[in-house]
Symmetry: C2
Subunit: 276 residues, 2 copies
């Protein structure tokens, strides 16, 4: 398959999305906005809560919600709060099992895990976020699945910065124009300028680091995956807790990580060819 960067259209159009030109996906877009609000809310929402968060009249929103429910994309709890529906799970299972990029990457990231003994992530850029497509970790069966499919901001993760490094500066600026750089930890990058500066370093070094920028106590070394024509912005990383694995160790792994990512890039470009 040959994944393309998804999310708010492709990179070129990404800027004029959001509020200015309200993303012309018509009725579908409005329905997805509802799903997005529900997905992003920490606590369950009732109808009135939705109403206050979405700029739509009662009747309209009500019908949209009803349609989403009828389609299995949303379900109603007994206490009249809403949750994402099971049909989304079903779709995602198919999306994942058929994703050729992930499939090609699997043996490669497994090897990287065996070499380092630490958790390895494979992530791909979707809009301004990184979605984790796969991971390999030591023991741990619990929370195993919850990680896959999770999205994190690109600007504060190793994989995210690696992925962004495959994109031109000005496109990165456009893409992240609407993103607020939330300070998750003391080392989180403060804004787009600092990020662009770091991307230059990443392009030179071929690896990126997350220096506890997203979660305190967790750092990682990552490297970008290049696809021939830039239709895919992705990266892989080795992640570890600071207390067990010092930065020096990550730096020692950097060459291995970069080489592994290069190998994956080659495989992807060979096997996800146009006209396979």
């Amino acid at each position: 398959m040959d994944a393309i960067v998804t999310g708010p259209a492709n990179l070129d159009e990404a800027s004029q999305a959001e509020k200015d030109a309200p993303r012309d996906t018509g009725t579908l877009g409005k329905a997805m906005d509802v799903l997005e609000v529900i997905a992003s809310s920490p606590e369950p929402l009732r109808f009135t809560d939705l109403l206050s968060r979405i700029d739509q009249p009662r009747g309209t929103l009500h019908r949209q919600v009803k349609n989403l429910i009828d389609e299995g994309l949303l379900f109603v709890n007994r206490d009249q709060t809403y949750e994402l529906g099971l049909r989304l799970l079903r779709f995602a299972a198919k999306a994942w099992s058929r994703n050729r990029f992930r499939e090609i990457a699997e043996p490669i990231i497994r090897k990287l895990h065996e070499a380092t003994g630490e958790t390895v992530h494979l992530g791909i850029l979707s809009g301004t976020e990184v979605v984790y497509l796969d991971k390999v970790e030591s023991r741990q069966t619990v929370r195993m699945h919850s990680q896959i499919g999770n999205a994190s901001p690109a600007y504060c993760t190793g994989v995210g910065k690696a992925a962004l490094s495959t994109i031109d500066d000005d496109k990165v600026r456009k893409l992240l124009a609407k993103v607020t750089f939330k300070k998750h930890t003391p080392t989180t990058l403060p804004g787009v300028d600092a990020l662009i500066a770091e991307l230059h370093q990443i392009r030179q070094a071929g690896v990126s680091y997350d220096r506890e920028e997203h979660e305190p106590g967790i750092h990682c070394v990552a490297a970008p995956v290049f696809s021939r024509d830039g239709h895919l912005a992705a990266g892989l990383s080795v992640t570890a807790p600071v207390f067990r694995v010092p930065m020096v160790q990550l730096q020692e792994w950097s060459e291995l990580v970069r080489e592994t990512a290069r190998q994956l890039s080659d495989e992807v470009n060979a096997r996800l060819s146009p006209r396979s």
Copy 2:
């Protein structure tokens, strides 16, 4: 949360869905049909393939597909075939991690796994299919995730038949009116009448068996999870290969499985109360 049976609306309306009254979800419904066609196709589809499978004029379908792509629900490969988009993965990850039914069930199915040593599944009815919400299995890290979110027909799986047994006969008939009973193996039930007859036995016994009805060489014992007002039709099962675990062993486990399911039912009814 307190999951309700999703899919083609609730059970009462399920019958008049599909073709007769073409499921009045308007534009959204048509968009989801496109996703469904792509999700259900074994091989990648190009635009013309889609066109032949969906009864829509060129221009219309083209705009629908474009909207789906802009929303990140679909992506285009370099060879112009379509796949489900990463945004679905992201939604599903949230849906799963927030699902309280699954959360409540986790320790319980884990215990069942420890007692039997075999694979345990937790499934919930969505339309006419069973979606696997969770599973616990022995070793195996590979393909771990692909199973979760997968859907199988309800009529030929242990969990599916258990879930259906919590629903009145006539509602089951309505629900399955449009389903074709595909003969996956020699023992697959031939039709709805045979199924209803078996559901009677299941209600009496409190457990259901999948006697290699879905996959040759695989059988299982399952039991239904009852929710107070029938807003949730689910089941759990212990699955094993025939060559290693004989039917007699499954029968010995039946009491344990039934008891475990009863325990889960109690927890669910206590903790997913209306007005939590």
